[in-house]
C-alpha cells in the first residue's frame, strides 16, 4: 500500500515532468491552474521538489526552471539563429500580448457602474444582474457606433452646411436640439453606406463570439436533465446581503419542493379527455394571441395611413404624436393580456410558460415594427413627399421618444403603484418581481428602431445612448425601491444567449432586409440628402465603382466588386462550402454523442468490476485472518487499510480506494 506522502510525491513528479517541455509562459499558467496552496505553487514555480518526506530521506536534485530552459534553448538556439523570422514573429506576438493585457487592464479600470452592479448582484442575484449587464453592453455598442458615425459623417457635414427643408414644430420635445438634428438628418454621405457595411462586419465578429456562447449553452449533448442537481450545486455566492440570502434560501427550499413534487407526478398520465381539453386550450390561446397581434398591426397601419392624410390637410402639431402614443400603448397593454392567458393554459414545466410568453411578445413587437416599416417604405417613400427620408427619421425619433417616456412612467409610477397594491391593499401579492424578459424585450425593441433609423437619421445612436443612460438609473432606483429578488432560479446564461440570439436574428436581419429594400428599390427624394437625383440609392455605389475604374491604381477594388460581390457563382460556391462544413460538424457531433454513451456504459461496468474485485479481496483477507490468527499481521494489515482509506483526499484520479462502506454492505454493490 502506498502512503499519503508517497502518493503526493508521485503526483508532483508527474506534474513536473509534464511541465518540463512547456514554455515558461505555459508553465506559469499550468502552475496557476493547480488547485494547491500558495506555498506549494511557489515551490513548483521555483522548480524545487520540496516534499516533506520524513520517513524517507531521499535527496532530490534541485532542478530550477532556469537550468531547464537554458538546456532547451541551447538545443534550439542553433536552429533559431538562422531563422530570424521566427524571432520576429515571437517579438510581435509578445508585443501584441502585452498590448492586449494593458488594454484589458485599462478597460477594466474604466468599467462603468461597477459598484452599482455589484450591489444589484448582491441583493438580487445574477439573473437580474444579467439585464443590467445587457443594458450596459447595449450602451457601449451605441457609444461605439455614435463615435464612428460622428467622426465620419457629421463633422464633414458641419463644414459643408446645407439647408434643412423641414423643421419640427414647437410642440415637439427638445425643440432646439431637434431642429439641429433635423438639419443633419438628411445629410447622409456615400461613406455612410460603407459604414453600414463596416458595422455589419463588426457585428459578424460579435456574432462569432455569440456563437461560442451558444455552443456552450445549447449544443452540449445533454443526456440527462440535470435540473435538480444544478439547483443544489450552483449556489449563488455573489449574494452578500443577509436578508437576500435568507430569502434565497427560502426560495430555494420552495423550488426544491416543487421540483420534487413535479418528479413524483411526472409519471401520472392524463386521461384522453384531459389531454383534449388541454390541447384545445393551447390552440385557443394561440389563436387569440395571434388574432390580437394581427388586429393591433392592422389598427396601426390604418391609423398611420389616416394620420398621413390628416396631416396633409391639417397641421395640428399634436396629431403627429398620436401614432407613437398608440404604438406605445399597444406595447404596454397587450403583453399584460398575454400574461393573463396563464390562467387558462396549464404547462407541465414553468419554463415552457416563460418561453411561450416570450415568443408571443416577440411576435407582437416584430410584427408591429414590420408593419411600420412596410408603411414607411410603401406609403411614405412613394408618396411623392419631398424629403421623405427625413419624415421617416422623424417618425422613428418620435416613436423612440414616446417609448422612452412610457418606460420611465412605468418605472416610476406603474411599479410604485404595484408595490403599494402589493403591500397595502392585497398583501398576499407581496412585492413584485423584476420581469427580466419583458424589460430585455423593450431594450431590443428600442435598439431595433435605432438600427432602422440610423440610415435616415445618423444621430439616433446619440439619443439612444442618452436614453439608455437615464434608463439605467431609473430602473436601478425602481428596482431598489419596489422589487423583491426573484423566487425561481432563472437560468441566466441560457436566457442571455437567447436574448442575444433574439437581438441578432429577427431584429438585425429584419433591419438588414429593410435597408436592403431601401437601398435597392427606393428612389431617393429629389431635393434633400446627398443621394438626390439618383434613380436608386444603390446607383451611388455604381457611379463610385465607375469613377474608380478610370483610375489605374484602384482596379483591384473594381475587380473584387465585379467578380466577387457582384457575381452569383461566388455566392453559390460559398454557400455550398458552408453547407458541407455544417454537415461535417453535424456528423462529428452525432459521433461524439454515441461515444459518450458508450463511455458511460464502460464506466458503469468498470465500477461493477471494481466492486466485485473488492469483495473478492475482502473475502480473501477474511479467510486469511481466520487461517492466520497472528495479531501483528492483523495490525499491519489494518494500518495499511487505514492508509488506503485516506488516499485520494486531494487527487481524485488515483483509484486505489478501498472503502469501508463496501464492507458495511453498500446497497449498490
Amino acid at each position: 500500500m502506498l502512503s499519503d506522502d508517497h502518493v503526493n510525491e508521485i503526483i508532483i513528479e508527474k506534474l513536473i515532468a509534464s511541465l518540463i517541455p512547456m514554455t515558461s509562459r505555459d508553465r506559469i499558467k499550468a502552475i496557476r491552474n493547480q488547485p494547491r496552496t500558495m506555498e506549494e505553487k511557489r515551490n513548483l514555480s521555483k522548480g524545487g521538489l520540496t516534499i516533506m518526506t520524513e520517513s524517507e530521506g531521499r535527496a532530490k536534485a534541485r532542478l530550477t526552471w532556469k537550468i531547464v530552459d537554458k538546456e532547451k534553448s541551447k538545443q534550439t538556439h542553433r536552429i533559431l539563429q538562422l531563422n530570424c523570422c521566427v524571432q520576429c514573429l515571437n517579438s510581435i506576438s509578445r508585443a501584441y500580448r502585452r498590448s492586449k493585457n494593458s488594454l484589458s487592464e485599462i478597460l477594466n479600470s474604466i468599467s462603468l457602474w461597477q459598484k452599482t452592479l455589484k450591489i444589484i448582484g448582491g441583493k438580487f442575484g445574477t439573473s437580474v444582474l444579467s439585464y443590467f449587464n445587457f443594458l450596459r453592453w447595449l450602451l457601449k455598442f451605441n457609444i461605439f457606433s455614435f463615435i464612428v458615425n460622428f467622426s465620419f459623417i457629421i463633422i464633414p457635414q458641419f463644414a459643408v452646411a446645407e439647408k434643412n427643408t423641414l423643421q419640427f414644430t414647437g410642440l415637439e420635445l427638445f425643440t432646439g436640439v431637434v431642429t439641429g438634428i433635423t438639419g443633419l438628418c438628411h445629410q447622409v454621405q456615400l461613406i455612410f453606406l460603407f459604414l453600414v457595411e463596416m458595422g455589419f462586419c463588426i457585428l459578424v465578429s460579435a456574432f462569432s463570439s455569440m456563437a461560442k456562447y451558444f455552443r456552450d449553452n445549447f449544443i452540449n449533448p445533454h443526456i440527462y436533465s440535470g435540473g435538480i442537481t444544478k439547483l443544489i450545486f450552483c449556489w449563488d455566492f455573489t449574494v452578500t446581503h443577509e436578508k437576500a440570502v435568507k430569502l434565497k434560501q427560502k426560495n430555494l427550499s420552495t423550488e426544491i419542493r416543487e421540483n420534487l413534487s413535479e418528479l413524483r407526478q411526472e409519471n401520472a398520465k392524463l386521461t384522453f379527455k384531459q389531454q383534449l381539453t388541454r390541447f384545445s386550450a393551447y390552440v385557443m390561446a394561440w389563436v387569440v394571441s395571434t388574432g390580437v397581434a394581427i388586429a393591433c398591426c392592422a389598427a396601426v397601419y390604418y391609423l398611420a395611413e389616416y394620420n398621413l392624410e390628416f396631416l396633409k390637410t391639417h397641421s395640428n402639431p399634436g396629431a403627429v404624436l398620436l401614432l407613437p402614443f398608440v404604438v406605445s400603448c399597444i406595447n404596454l397593454a397587450v403583453p399584460c393580456i398575454y400574461s393573463m392567458f396563464r390562467l387558462v393554459e396549464r404547462y407541465e414545466m414553468p419554463r415552457h410558460e416563460v418561453y411561450i410568453l416570450l415568443i408571443r411578445n416577440i411576435f407582437l413587437k416584430i410584427s408591429i415594427i414590420g408593419i411600420l416599416c412596410y408603411y414607411w417604405l410603401n406609403n411614405v417613400a412613394l408618396s411623392g413627399e419631398e424629403c421623405w427620408e427625413t419624415l421617416i427619421g422623424q417618425d422613428i425619433y418620435r416613436l423612440l421618444l414616446m417609448d422612452f417616456v412610457f418606460s420611465l412612467a412605468d418605472s416610476f409610477l406603474g411599479e410604485f403603484l404595484r408595490r403599494i397594491i402589493g403591500m397595502q391593499l392585497i398583501t398576499s401579492l407581496g412585492l413584485p418581481e423584476f420581469d427580466i424578459a419583458r424589460n430585455v424585450l423593450e431594450l431590443i425593441y428600442a435598439q431595433t428602431l435605432v438600427w432602422i433609423g440610423i440610415f435616415f437619421c445618423p444621430l439616433l445612436p446619440l439619443i439612444q445612448m442618452i436614453m439608455l443612460f437615464i434608463m439605467f438609473y431609473a430602473k436601478n432606483i425602481s428596482l431598489m425601491m419596489n422589487f423583491q429578488p426573484p423566487s425561481k432560479a432563472w437560468r441566466a446564461s441560457q436566457m442571455m444567449t437567447f436574448f442575444i440570439l433574439l437581438l441578432f436574428f429577427p431584429s438585425f436581419t429584419g433591419v438588414l432586409c429593410t435597408l436592403a429594400i431601401t437601398i435597392w428599390r427606393l428612389k431617393p427624394s429629389a431635393d434633400c440628402g446627398p443621394f438626390r437625383g439618383l434613380p436608386f440609392f444603390i446607383h451611388s455605389i455604381y457611379s463610385w465603382i465607375d469613377t474608380l475604374s478610370t483610375r489605374p491604381g484602384y482596379l483591384w477594388v473594381v475587380w473584387i466588386y465585379r467578380n466577387l460581390i457582384g457575381s452569383v457563382h461566388f455566392f453559390f460556391i460559398l454557400t455550398l462550402i458552408v453547407l458541407i462544413i455544417t454537415y461535417l460538424y453535424w456528423q462529428i457531433t452525432e459521433g461524439r454523442k454515441i461515444m459518450i454513451r458508450l463511455l458511460h456504459e464502460q464506466i458503469i461496468n468498470e465500477g461493477k468490476d471494481k466492486m466485485f474485485l473488492i469483495e473478492k479481496l475482502i473475502k480473501l483477507q477474511d479467510m486469511e485472518k481466520k487461517a492466520n490468527p497472528s495479531s501483528l499481521v492483523l495490525e499491519s494489515r489494518e494500518v495499511e487499510q487505514q492508509d488506503a482509506l485516506h488516499l485520494g483526499e486531494r487527487d481524485g484520479s488515483l483509484d486505489l480506494r478501498f472503502r469501508r462502506s463496501v464492507q458495511e454492505g453498500n446497497p449498490r454493490a
Binding site: P35, T37, L260
Partner: protein
C-alpha cells in the same frame, strides 16, 4: 502606523501575479492604500475584536484591483503590531475575524470556505497568502476547473474526498437555511438525494467523486458566474 518602507517588493508582486488570477495593478494600488491613515481608525475596532464595521471598499477605489484591496482588507483585520507588510504576510488571522468580512458574513458556506483554504496546522486561521488564494479562486478569471475543484472540497463536509449521502444532506441543509419551515423533511431529503445521485453518480457507487462532480458542473454554464466573490 506603517512606515514608507512597507511596500510589497517587486519580486513578491510579480510572484503573486504569476501564482494567482489577480492582476498586478491591483496589488500595486493596494500597497499604496494599505498605508492610508484611515486604517488607524479601524485599529481600535480590530484590537478590541469587534466585528468589522462591514464598510465596503472606500469610495475612491471602487475599481481598485483585487489583491491590493485584499491586502488592505486583510490588514484591517490584524492587530496593530502586525501591520507591517512582511509580518502581515505571515500573520494568521483567526476565523472569527475573516467571517466578519461583509462579503462572507452572510454566506452559508463561510466556515467551510475558511477551513478549506486554511493551511495552518490547526486549520483555524488564515494567512494573507491563504486569503489571496481564496480570492483568486473566487475571482472572475479563475478557470472553471479550479472553481469546481474547490467547490467540491467546500461541499465535502467530512473531507474524505467524496460526496456521500451525509455530505449531500448537510449541503442541502446549508442551502435551505435553518428555519423550521424551510428545512426539508426526511422523506423529501431522501427523494432529493436519490435524484441527485441518479443524475450525477455515473459509476453507481453511491457517492459522487471529483470527476463526476466536475462532469455535472460542466453542464451548468451558470456555475462559473455564480461561484464568485467580488471584493
Amino acid at each position: 502606523m506603517g512606515g514608507s518602507g512597507s511596500r510589497l517588493s517587486k519580486e513578491l508582486l510579480a510572484e503573486y501575479q504569476d501564482l494567482t488570477f489577480l492582476t498586478k495593478q491591483e496589488i500595486l494600488l493596494s500597497v499604496h492604500v494599505v498605508l492610508a491613515p484611515h486604517l488607524v481608525d479601524n485599529e481600535q475596532q480590530a484590537r478590541s475584536g469587534n466585528e468589522h464595521t462591514g464598510k465596503p471598499i472606500a469610495e475612491n477605489t471602487n475599481s481598485s484591483p483585487l489583491s491590493t484591496r485584499a491586502h488592505r482588507r486583510f490588514c484591517e483585520l490584524l492587530p496593530q503590531e502586525q501591520r507591517s507588510v512582511e509580518e502581515s504576510l505571515l500573520a494568521q488571522v483567526p476565523f472569527e475575524q475573516i467571517l466578519s468580512l461583509p462579503e462572507l458574513k452572510a454566506n452559508p458556506f463561510k466556515e467551510r470556505i475558511c477551513r478549506v483554504f486554511s493551511t495552518s496546522p490547526t486549520r483555524d486561521s488564515l494567512s494573507f497568502e491563504d486569503f489571496l488564494d481564496l480570492l483568486s479562486v473566487f475571482s472572475d478569471t479563475a478557470t472553471p476547473d479550479i472553481k469546481s475543484h474547490y467547490a467540491f472540497r467546500i461541499f465535502d463536509f467530512d473531507d474524505d474526498g467524496t460526496l456521500n449521502r451525509e455530505d449531500l444532506s448537510r449541503l442541502v441543509n446549508c442551502l435551505t437555511g435553518e428555519g423550521e419551515d424551510t428545512r426539508l423533511s426526511a422523506s423529501e431529503m431522501k427523494q432529493l438525494i436519490d435524484n441527485i445521485l441518479e443524475e450525477s453518480d455515473i459509476d453507481r457507487d453511491g457517492t459522487i467523486n471529483l470527476s463526476e462532480f466536475q462532469h455535472v458542473i460542466s453542464r451548468s454554464p451558470d456555475f462559473a458566474s455564480s461561484f464568485k466573490i467580488v471584493l
